[in-house]
């Protein structure tokens, strides 16, 4: 393990975070919130100083990045970023306990949207902005951002990108990693701006539009009102629901659209399966909850919004789905695990992995019936090698083992029923936010013990970084010098 480059990159990330913290600081100055602006400024300074110590004293940019270093950089960068990002909440005393502030920040960066705040509306605007801004930063990934702005001389930095970008296989859009990162961010920024403009048309104030766009783009789910999106007009609900769906699609497809390869983009199996699942789930839930609504369009909108929000792992809500019949709740719980497409900003297992696992299962069943049959797993028109299918199967296994470990850990000393604990673990691990029962859309995670909050914070990091980076830093062999 090359400790120097790891330290250097983590320091770089903290310096960037310091710069990013200045933006909410500016916002709070505009709204003359002196208290929170000071807290944000102080945090920025701390981040900058620690960052400089890491880059100059402890680290060195010697460009020796291999797979191991890539994982370590990503894991440590995310953890230290969350620790520093929690400072403004803690220093300003708007979230008095550091564990709570850490949970909230991790929830922000991992685009989960699970909150411990009992009253969001009481927060100062500067900190609300920072809270939602963490979604936007975490959505596309900080290290991808670093790659977009700093020239990387070593081609091996693909290891970092691979560790941070979700999906079973990370491909580049263009030959160069820096151009790829830039393109991804350009697509991301343009889509966010379009959403802000559309919401402004719908009469939402600028501040709210920007924050909701951040929450949607990162598929996070932090809102600014206690009832999330429920009090906004149907038009705004439609805009948010559709944009959630869009941000849950693989960004590579947008690039294909950009370079006018429409046919290639529309040929994506994952896209159609993703849209298919959304359509089927929406239909079933609509008929399941139809009788509680006055008009059919209300029922369609509400169920589509909830399906889109849960499937893309955003976590906005327009209805308290806790009160829905158990069929609808079970569908939503299933969608939590499926998640969005690979290469999007969303979390969960990812549709592409589900497809690959299903195809692997069918092939193996066929092989059991016809032991001499030869079959291969094809996905997106390409034959997958054993390495990839194995990787996906292992990912599945680890995913569920870890899920039950998390569930077990938060059940210790927990006052909640199994539905709450199960959905809380699922909602955090899959980066959704609200769960069912006592952590449903109208309530929050405040009542969990400090220990459970730390466990859930790590669950969120595991989910966002797709398990391995975080898991590896807990293994001793990973840190051995040789």
């Amino acid at each position: 393990m090359n400790h120097k480059i790891v330290s250097y990159m983590v320091g770089r990330i903290l310096q960037i975070e310091a710069a990013l913290l200045l933006l909410p600081c500016l916002i709070s100055l505009i709204y003359t919130e002196w208290h929170s602006s000071l807290a944000l400024l102080a945090s920025a300074l701390i981040a900058f100083v620690i960052g400089c110590v890491c880059t100059h004293l402890l680290g060195k940019n010697d460009k020796m990045i291999f797979a191991k270093e890539g994982f370590a950089i990503v894991a440590l960068a995310w953890i230290s970023m969350s620790l520093v990002g929690a400072l403004p909440f803690y220093i300003s005393r708007e979230i008095p306990k550091f564990v709570d502030a850490f949970f909230e920040t991790v929830s922000g960066f991992t685009t989960t949207g699970a909150s411990i705040l009992t009253n969001v509306e009481k927060m100062s605007r500067g900190l609300l902005f920072w809270r939602s801004f963490t979604h936007w930063i975490g959505g596309m990934g900080v290290l991808v951002f670093v790659m977009a702005i700093f020239p990387q001389e070593s081609g091996r930095s693909i290891h970092i990108m691979r560790a941070e970008m979700p999906g079973p296989s990370v491909g580049k859009l263009v030959p160069r990693i820096r151009t790829t990162a830039k393109l991804l961010y350009i697509i991301y920024i343009v889509m966010t701006v379009v959403q802000i403009v559309l919401m402004l048309f719908g009469g939402m104030p600028l501040f709210a539009s920007v924050l909701h766009a951040f929450g949607t783009a990162g598929t996070g789910g932090f809102g600014i009102l206690n009832d999330s999106i429920a009090s906004y007009s149907p038009y705004l609900q439609w805009v948010i629901a559709i944009f959630m769906l869009l941000f849950g699609i693989n960004f590579n497809l947008y690039y294909l659209f950009l370079i006018k390869h429409f046919r290639a983009a529309l040929k994506s199996t994952e896209l159609w399966v993703y849209l298919g699942i959304v359509a089927v789930s929406t239909t079933i839930i609509t008929f399941n909850i139809y009788n509680t609504f006055n008009t059919f369009s209300d029922a369609v909108r509400t169920s589509f919004f909830q399906v889109s929000s849960i499937m893309t792992t955003t976590g906005f809500a327009t209805a308290d789905f806790n009160l829905w019949p158990s069929l609808s709740k079970t569908i939503l719980l299933t969608l939590m695990f499926i998640g969005s497409c690979a290469g999007s900003t969303g979390g969960g297992i990812k549709v592409s992995r589900i497809i690959i696992v299903m195809k692997t299962i069918f092939r193996d069943i066929k092989r059991m019936l016809h032991p001499r049959s030869v079959g291969s797993v094809k996905f997106e028109g390409k034959i997958l090698d054993l390495h990839t299918t194995n990787g996906v199967s292992v990912y599945f296994a680890i995913y569920f083992i870890l899920f039950f470990i998390i569930l077990l850990l938060i059940s210790f000393g927990s006052a909640f029923d199994i539905e709450t604990n199960f959905s809380a673990a699922a909602a955090c691990f899959n980066n959704i936010g609200p769960g069912l029962g006592a952590v449903g859309p109208t309530s929050n995670f405040a009542a969990y013990t400090g220990f459970s909050k730390i466990v859930l914070s790590f669950a969120m990091l595991l989910g966002r970084l797709e398990i391995f980076p975080i898991l590896l830093i807990f293994t001793p062999i990973f840190w051995k010098k040789k």
Binding site: A67, G155, R156, P175
Partner: protein
Amino acid sequence: MKIIISGCGKIGSTIISNLVEENHDIVAIDSNPAVVAELTNIYDIMGICGNGADSDILDEAGVSDADLFVSVAGSDELNMISCFLAKKLGAKHTVARISTPEYNDKSLAIMKQHLEISLTINPERLAAHDLFNVLKFPSAVKIESFSRRYLEIIEIKLKDDSLLDGVKLMDIRTKFNAKVLVCCIQRGDEVFIPNGTFVLKSGDKIGVAATHQELLKFFKALGRSQKMAKDVMLLGGGRISYYLADLLTDIGTSVKIIEIDEKVCETLSEGLTKATIIHGDGAQQELLIEEGLLTTDAFVSLTGMDEENILISIFAQSQNVPKVIAKVNRDELYAMAGKLGLDSLVSPKKIVSDLIISYARALQNSMGSSVETLYKLMDDKAEALEFNVIENPELVNIPLKDLKLKANILIGGIIRNRKTIIPGGNDIISAGDKVVVIAANHKLQDLSDILEK
């Protein structure tokens, strides 16, 4: 520039590693997923797994806006088809590796024209040419020639008792009475361009630029054997051996090829009537000695195994063969073989990659004074480039001593009207000349890049 490399074997990956340093957008195509994965892990390039002659794969690689398409897979036919397809799909220039001896000059010319291939390269033939040059001039480790051999740059290593030990560079011309220019020096791991006050030490590897005649004079004065090898033993009957034997027997050199495979021996003896073909295992020292290793002028080890080449060459060196050359393909072994005392090494993939780089630089710079030839010297740490000079007020008709050159750059030769000038401070460059520049730690695109800005 956007460059697509199809076929990422030894040659392909060397080309990629060199082009990456030149800041091109590179897409690599190979049918082996492991190779593609490895390359994309190491270099900042896009990798696509598939057949280079599949139009879908070429589309995916973005062939329609590629500036250069290079197909260097093992199969000549695949390379031809890939290049043809790439050209038809919009690639601006195509380069194919074609190395079967049966595709001779005539059929190659027809194919080049009709498949619209911009450049065909034959690594084995190029390697054979390089070896041929060195065998004609055995005192040198390596010879690079410019502009139809009006100027040559040779690399030599100063032995312990060398007459050059302790000599100041500015005194060389008077002391040895030869118009030569020491243009780059490798001492230890460092490579630099020296000035006149530099003092040579034994153990240095130096690059000397001069015309062929002057070099002969220089070596005579140095007292080093400069006799052309008249009797050459080649180990291994691959394509390089075939081409080399062909070249050597043409000028009357006696050639003996030792090859282990009987079938290959038969084919060789059909193609090379003047050479002696021996069927036997070259790793057997007895056989080598029986076939006259002790009396041969030069021994070239060209088997497919780097390790075998190195070890047998060391053996030949221990038997006091005047000139021993080993073919070494793997970079790690190349460096190690140098440390083991083998100073003459040949690596076909390096030759090809030099060629592709000079071609890419020339394409990138088709407007200015373009790169005509490029060679990497001193273990790739310095470059010698030949430029065609065009009218440029900053450069042309100014005495060289008044030009503000960047550090570590030297003008090694000017070729004007078929005459070679080894320049001094009062010489000038004029439009229409060919200029050879030696640069360490620079990547020159245009002749004007040599000026301090």
